[in-house]
Amino acid sequence: MSADSSYPTASSTATSGGRAAESRAERFARELRDLKVSDPSDGHPRLWQRVGAVLMVLGIVVGVAAYLLSHRTSSSLTQGDAITIGLGGVTLAVVGSAIFLRYSLTGFLRFWMARQSFEMNILAERFMSGTNGAVPVPRDPARNYTRNDS
């Protein structure tokens, strides 16, 4: 990621009257120079969602395995280990569920919001075609409307 040296630097703009005198193009160039271009993390949410799901399943498996381990022994020491492993499994499952929910909910909410916006647009278009562009006058709540009102 390289910045073109032919664009004015922050110091050059400062000497020519400061940032207040900057044109929008110069300010744009300066802001872009400061911009940290991160990796296009397109696949990251999906990766985290998968990691969350795997941790969740792994946690449950570890928990069940710890339960079985504690059942197959009468040694209190081994049972203590099983409890520790079981708690680890539960922690894994909780953390995994949280990660999974965080990334799956984000995707769902984004989709939901886009859908809401889309449906609102359709409703507005229907409304406009129905009223032929005229805006309905809201009813006056203070007035007592009766059947004979025209």
């Binding site: 664009y7 929008r24 193009a25 911009l35 993390s41 609102m120 507005a124 406009m128 562009g133």
Partner: protein
């Protein structure tokens, strides 16, 4: 002549593995209006989406004000001053004009400043500030979309199908505003199917055919060849 604020160098992009852009080269300078024309499915909207950082690039570079920003998040580009006004306006029909404008306070500008920018350029919006955006005419909705874009203080303005569903007179008025915006030093890239309107204000025209820039140059030079470029040469 000023340097390009927006440059696309050999940009390729695909949807689910299907290539849509096959090496697009394009540059827009500060104060310049570039019209991107072409038939349906040529990749015009995708080009805008790439420029806004919304659509990932398979290969090639996206350069803004000399800085290679290929792969940058659209949010970062928007904060820096790249503004995309999508086809269909993208306004909230159930909110009032004022509420729609207030959405742009995320840029750090106050409500008053945003209203000042919007209402000074589009007085009709000021007169109807409390009206629901969905009850406005198509032209007024497009004005609102433009006003919201301007509220972000854009350095690069990307307009997708400004004329969609509007009467030619309204389109003419909107393009006058676009020309004024460009004259303030904003780099404007307009995607348009209504070629005559875009040609009237553009300093430079690029014709996109099947994901490639088939021709570009000044509007006078391309005006007579447009039908050949759209439909293929009859010779």
């Amino acid at each position: 002549m000023s340097k390009a604020l927006l440059e696309m160098r050999g940009v390729r992009s695909a949807y689910d593995g299907v290539n849509v852009l096959h090496g697009v080269d394009l540059a827009v300078r500060a104060g310049q209006t570039v019209a991107l024309l072409g038939p349906n499915g040529a990749g015009k909207t995708t080009t805008l989406r790439v420029a806004a950082g919304v659509q990932p690039i398979s290969s090639g570079r996206l350069v803004l004000a000399g800085r290679d920003v290929t792969g940058a998040r659209s949010l970062d580009l928007a904060r820096s001053g790249v503004c995309l006004i999508p086809e269909g306006r993208g306004i909230f029909p159930n909110l009032s004009i004022r509420d729609n404008l207030w959405m742009m306070t995320f840029t750090g500008r106050s409500r008053g400043e945003i209203e000042e920018i919007a209402f000074s350029r589009f007085p009709v919006l000021g007169k109807n500030a409390s009206r629901a955006a969905g009850t406005l005419s198509g032209g007024e909705q497009q004005m609102l979309a433009l006003a919201r874009g301007l509220a972000t203080d854009p350095a690069v303005l990307l307009l997708d199908e400004l004329s969609m569903g509007l009467a030619p007179v309204v389109v003419g008025r909107l393009y006058e505003q676009v020309a004024q915006i460009a004259s303030d030093g904003v780099a404007v890239l307009v995607v348009e199917q209504f070629a005559t309107a875009a040609l009237a204000i553009a300093n430079h025209v690029a014709v996109l055919v099947r994901g490639e820039v088939a021709a570009q140059g000044p509007p006078e030079a391309l005006r007579t060849h447009l039908s050949d470029l759209y439909l293929g040469s009859s010779r």
